[in-house]
Symmetry: C2
Subunit: 324 residues, 2 copies
Amino acid sequence: MEKMKLKLLYADLQSDIRVIEKELETALDSSSHYLKDASLHLLKAGGKRIRPVFVLLGAKFGQYNIDDMKNVAVPLELIHMASLVHDDVIDDAELRRGRPTVKSQWNNRVAMYAGDFIFARALEYMTNIQNEKAHQILSKTMVEIVQGEIIQIEDKMHLNQSIRDYFRRIKRKTALLISSSCQLGAVAAGADDSVAHHLKKFGYYVGMSFQIIDDVLDLTATDKQLGKPAGSDLLQGNITLPVLLAKNDSAIRPYIEKALSGDMKEDERQVFLKKMRSSNAINEAYHISNLYLQKALKEIEELPANSVKKSLKDIALYMGKRKF
Amino acid sequence: MEKMKLKLLYADLQSDIRVIEKELETALDSSSHYLKDASLHLLKAGGKRIRPVFVLLGAKFGQYNIDDMKNVAVPLELIHMASLVHDDVIDDAELRRGRPTVKSQWNNRVAMYAGDFIFARALEYMTNIQNEKAHQILSKTMVEIVQGEIIQIEDKMHLNQSIRDYFRRIKRKTALLISSSCQLGAVAAGADDSVAHHLKKFGYYVGMSFQIIDDVLDLTATDKQLGKPAGSDLLQGNITLPVLLAKNDSAIRPYIEKALSGDMKEDERQVFLKKMRSSNAINEAYHISNLYLQKALKEIEELPANSVKKSLKDIALYMGKRKF
């Protein structure tokens, strides 16, 4: 359902998205059944392919050519997928998008190498990119994402952290790759530097807004909508914005500590979710997300006239406003 | 002691090796103390830097330039290091080169991301390589290595495998990267295709010979020499050539099964090692290693006259003959 709506937003890109989808499938082919199954499992689970879409939209500001663009879009999506596989190992996650994770269906070791494999394929794909600047942006992004993954481990379980720590984390975890996707489309298509610059900032703000919403939904959506238990973030030790905003509320604090201690019972989880949902923290988090969204929309205004500006805006609004 | 002797073999390259050593240290710098400590821990543990040395020697057949060559040598060594970190997670290894592994000093999660980080840095470094063919060889190598890592998991614990399975495994695990190192030096320095081809084959044969010796030494060297308990390979479920050659020996078979079952006692390990050492399997394995070594030496003969041919030969003999 959700995916359907999003697809309508980029209807013009349908055939090019299909090209990328096909390439992703080819890229994940392997002589090892283990690797192939684990990777395709992830591919079939879907995902919104937001990063490739942003590459294509960014490229519309330059010399658009799907054959060049897929060389950028495919590795970006692969890097995203690889980081999901490795994150699931770290988080001990059993479910993603309503399906068992690679690590739960196979095991941590297969998940580790499946992630490595997908990274390596991304790298192989990148060798097709002729544009040196695009190369550098992509590899730098990859280094920063991995560094971000370590920060995420370092920050886990620590309730004594600032909102600034949270922003730093989601920047690397989410905003960076979306930002690079928007930028890279423009760079690889030879658009003006200033266009690439505004797209980069646009992607950053959209990514921040999006991740905050994602973290809110982890608390406000139903288990069924999420495809995993609501509150999973906290139960896995990941401290998100709504929790940071609620942690000094004496009615909620004990539940947060309980969740982090690792032995929260099912009825306690229900009470915790109920209290969170009726607290101010959710509204505050939405508000902050919306501030980022507004900044993203402002960046669009800075871009030269182009029919895709409306698509960028629609997708940003979609990502920053979604109720689930 | 061992490292000293090897250093003498490439005395002429000393200052260039130091350049690479310095670059490795820079490449592993990170704002995350976790990552920096874990990576430098691995770097300081040493290693023979065989891959960079082969890059430099191969490059001597073309336009040798350390500034170009380091762009190839550094990522090759980084890829090697990253795969070591991830392998230690798979093998549950506590010690490497006499020091605690990243996964035992920190934990599996840090080890996983430290490996990712080192891979990402390798990738970042590769963007400096201008030569497209070198890019393709390097990325293809990386994909094959990772696929090899999965094969290693698939083959683990299975005594019912052929020597061919073993060869396939060590090819990907070891021979491929050494082979690519030799080839890449020549390619990046613009040497003739036939030179690159023979160097590639040379590296493959040396790598096979080397890994077989390594697997023999795991059984014949002392715990102290190895920096970990002798027989570790089998105890971790990795079936090596000597074990495959000895597995039908009724005096040894029960010990092999015991080791794989995971509850071998210390005195049983001692008996197992004694029996292995006095079996024919060790000599047979040495013999097979030597066949590869001879093939490697033959490839050197095919190369055009060059003063480094003697160095290639010396290093090959060193790697294929070492007693420890």
